[in-house]
């Protein structure tokens, strides 16, 4: 069964001050995310990505259609707590997500609110901090950490609640290359080692290629849905909505236009180098 299911969902934010109704942020959107998947959601600013994240754990409720979390409809208030335990959300700005003055207390905040036994909280906090590689910093003050470290602490805080699905809304947007790599590795571990379903919203094409599946949003609707190879093979379509394909794809696209028969789905440096090598040796 799908862990998150959007069925013909439409959502619009409240009208502005003058009372003019706003266009829907999400329009007739259907998507089914299965347990254990690693899904990346791509789309330019304002395409509706973040609204999806908030609809997926009941922070926002649809105007039309419905959102099912592990079979529970998000409009049912009696399931609200269970829904929020099932799906955790990590936001873009790490500074807005830290609540405590010591790293391990911050991570313990979620499980404490769930009324979990102290010994079990201790176990979860340690295990979550180890997963994101921040265990050595457990006694530190969060304000002295780098952006990437803070973001990993925020992720640990979500893992400690043991959700079955984690949605990350541009978690790397404010980080430097090293911070981005560390957060990316932590996310991959959650999916691979703990079997947590990951929904990863990003602007970075080179991060999206790491997912099993990419969903592309445009103008509040679903535009594409497929494996990274399928999605990036259509460079023209990706560009038409203000996104871009990885540099390796751009390069092979230019060469293909000159009749050099490189593949159109070379997403990594390794794949591109091997394909060039094979072509040249084949001659």
């Amino acid at each position: 069964m799908a862990i998150i299911k959007f069925e013909n969902v439409t959502f619009r934010y409240e009208s502005d001050e003058e009372g003019v109704a706003l266009a829907p942020a999400v329009k007739d959107f259907s998507l089914s995310i299965e347990k254990g998947e690693f899904v990346a959601i791509l789309g330019h600013n304002g395409s509706g990505k973040s609204t999806l994240a908030k609809l997926a754990n009941g922070l926002l409720l649809p105007e039309k259609g419905r959102v099912l979390v592990d079979g529970m409809d998000t409009v049912n208030e009696e399931d609200d707590i269970k829904i929020k335990q099932t799906v955790g959300v990590v936001f873009q700005n790490p500074d807005n997500q830290i609540v405590a003055t010591i790293v391990e207390e911050d991570v313990a905040f979620g499980p404490e609110n769930l009324g979990i036994e102290p010994t079990e909280i201790r176990r979860r906090v340690d295990s979550a901090l180890k997963t994101v590689g921040m265990y050595e910093y457990r006694k530190h003050g969060p304000h002295k950490l780098s952006g990437g470290q803070k973001q990993r602490v925020a992720i640990a805080g979500i893992i400690a609640m043991e959700p079955r699905c984690i949605i990350l809304d541009e978690p790397t947007a404010m980080l430097d290359p090293i911070g981005r790599r560390d957060v990316m590795n932590a996310i991959k571990r959650l999916n691979r080692d703990l079997g947590i379903t990951v929904v990863f919203i990003t602007h970075y094409m080179e991060e999206a290629v790491e997912a099993d599946r990419i969903v592309v949003m445009d103008d509040s609707r679903l535009l594409m849905d497929g494996t990274p190879k399928e999605v990036f093979a259509d460079a023209t379509k990706i560009r038409s909505i203000g996104l871009d394909v990885p540099q390796t794809c751009q390069l092979s696209e230019l060469l293909r236009a000159d009749g050099i028969k490189l593949k159109n789905d070379l997403l990594s440096i390794d794949e591109l180098v091997e394909n060039i090598d094979a072509l040249l040796k084949g001659k």
Binding site: D16, G147, Q247
Partner: protein, 288 residues
């Protein structure tokens, strides 16, 4: 003559306390008129502290900063003058919008320069045009705009002072690919039209490769390398050691060379890569 120069610039946060941290350690940089400078370095390497010295926001613990040969801290009036000649746009500048309308926000700088109402009006409209903010948006509240629009309004607020040196701290972070292109284009445009010197702090090696005429690499509070794009990126192993990277495309050519293909390693953009690979494929046809 150099346009902007630092001499043995040192800055210590919390000097005289047990928490002191040396953020800049004997930094010497030299920027010429019209340069497009990129400052790169991992988080905490001193990039932002450095740019905050260049318009006199921070006062050096030791060392000096010269604008057209004059010490910017030599007098109060010199420092005041420097703040307008060197415009600094912080990281995530959209969080610093504060006025009730876009117009007033952009006008804040020029108004502080003591310009007449007519001059201010001209500056505001010109700056808005540079960043692609249409006239009808000027009367809106800045808080009703999208993230990308807010960022452009914030940049217009600095451009409206018509600084000779425009400094932007990570101007494209958090934006989508189209937003990044727009911001980079407008910076390039501003530089070409006004002949201004531009300094950007960036994490994107791809952008640095495409735009910069000079690159300054910061590491551990010191200037690690300074030179042209070619000169910097040929040190790919060293850059990786200090937590940076080379453009993805450069990596492709490093691998091809390792496999024994006669390709240049000095490939930093998709366009250069395309020409080099085309040469390689055509060469292999001719050899048959």
């Amino acid at each position: 003559m150099s346009h902007l120069k630092t001499e043995n610039l040192t800055y210590i946060y919390g000097a005289g306390t047990p928490f002191k941290i040396t953020a800049l350690d004997n930094v010497n940089i030299n920027i010429e008129k019209g340069d497009f400078v990129a400052i790169i370095g991992h988080t905490g390497s001193g990039k932002s502290t450095l740019v905050q010295h260049l318009n006199g926001l921070l006062k050096p613990t030791d060392g000096k900063i010269f604008l057209d040969g004059e010490d910017i801290h030599q007098s109060k009036s010199k420092l005041f003058d420097t703040r307008f000649r060197v415009g600094l746009c912080f990281q995530y500048p959209e969080y610093q919008l504060f006025e009730s309308t876009v117009y007033k926000d952009i006008a804040f700088g020029p108004a502080n320069m003591g310009l007449s109402t007519a001059e201010i009006d001209e500056r505001v409209r010109k700056a808005a045009k540079y960043v692609g903010i249409p006239d009808e948006m000027l009367s809106k509240s800045p808080f009703d705009l999208s993230g990308g629009e807010k960022r452009r309004v914030a940049i217009a607020g600095v451009i409206s002072m018509e600084p000779e040196i425009l400094i932007l701290d990570e101007p494209t972070s958090g934006l989508d690919p189209m937003g990044r292109e727009q911001i980079l284009d407008l910076i390039k445009n501003y530089r070409e039209k006004t002949g201004s010197t531009v300094i950007i702090v960036s994490h994107s090696m791809d952008d640095v490769a495409r735009f910069a005429t000079k690159v300054i690499v910061m590491n551990d509070s010191k200037v690690d390398l300074m030179g042209t794009v070619d000169g910097i990126f040929e040190n790919s192993t060293h850059l990786q050691e200090i937590g940076l990277s080379v453009p993805q495309i450069t990596e492709v050519f490093i691998r091809l060379r390792k496999k024994g293909y006669p390709v240049s390693e000095k490939i930093y953009t998709v366009e250069q890569g395309y020409r080099e690979l085309k040469r390689l494929f055509e060469g292999s046809v001719n050899n048959d």
